[in-house]
Symmetry: C2
DNA sequence: AGAAATGATACCATATTAGTATCATTTGTC
DNA sequence: GACAAATGATACTAATATGGTATCATTTCT
């Protein structure tokens, strides 16, 4: 089971790189070189990040991407939700079969608890916290 | 992101049903009727559970399945591992790019923490605990 | 005007998930 | 022993998700 898929990962790397580049516009070309991510795939990812207001894009010669908001306001869980959909761990297949007679399904409760924990932890990770240690 | 896939779910339902049938042998036919699971698919799943020593099978007329060990010694995480492979959440794609210079990647640490929690919680769920409330 | 960038979008390849079908083997019953 | 009733093994198919590519349109700097 993967918590983070490839596109989320690439997005994360790209956003971290852009964050470290402060104010300067970063082109896809530079990201491809520095991060070794397939060009077309990265372009698609950056376009999504632009649409979702994580990045702001500039077209034309000298164009590229910058952060659309402060790095400490971009959370890992935002990226996960954008590329992997809502984080729903506790969807209970069992509803029909195991839970018909009882109010509180013990499995459901556990899954809810796990989900809450995962979301809490992922919500505490910002781009800033991931870039902090790097030079 | 799904924590529990369809086959794990079906396996869980079947094992719970068999657990509740104490000692009596349960046939695929009965499970199909009671649980509305596609016959062929369920058969494949039960065969795996037999191979993995969760269930014990009896061939021939009057045959079927029983639990191979006490219900309180069968854990949800066992089923997840059988049908979905090892639970590894913390695989760190970022190793190369973000972590080259530092000893402890903050993301990695978080993911490890999440993984440990999930495993701990899932390890506390037994077939007994899921069947307990049902009539 | 033209080059350099992103935007939109359609497409392709592969892997995973979900499900089906069939023949072989074992075993209880007559 | 024949036969039906069950599971064992296994190969196949369908649908969906993931990972990646390609192309044309649009904007913008010079």
């Amino acid at each position: 089971m993967k918590l983070i898929t490839r596109d989320t990962d690439y997005a994360l790397r790209a956003v971290c790189f852009i964050a470290k580049s402060e104010k300067t516009i970063v082109s896809v070309e530079e990201l491809v070189e520095k991060l070794s991510i397939p060009r077309s795939f990265l372009r698609k990812i950056l376009q999504v990040l632009n649409r979702k207001r994580i990045l702001r894009s500039y077209k034309g010669s000298g164009g590229g991407f910058v952060l659309a908001k402060p790095a400490n306001r971009v959370f890992l869980i935002d990226l996960i939700r954008i590329f992997q959909g809502p984080l729903v761990l506790s969807e209970c297949f069992l509803k029909k079969m195991l839970c018909p007679n009882i109010k509180i399904c013990p499995l459901r409760k556990k899954l809810d608890k796990i989900e809450k924990f995962v979301i809490k932890e992922l919500s505490s990770i910002t781009i800033t916290s991931l870039s902090a240690h790097k030079t």
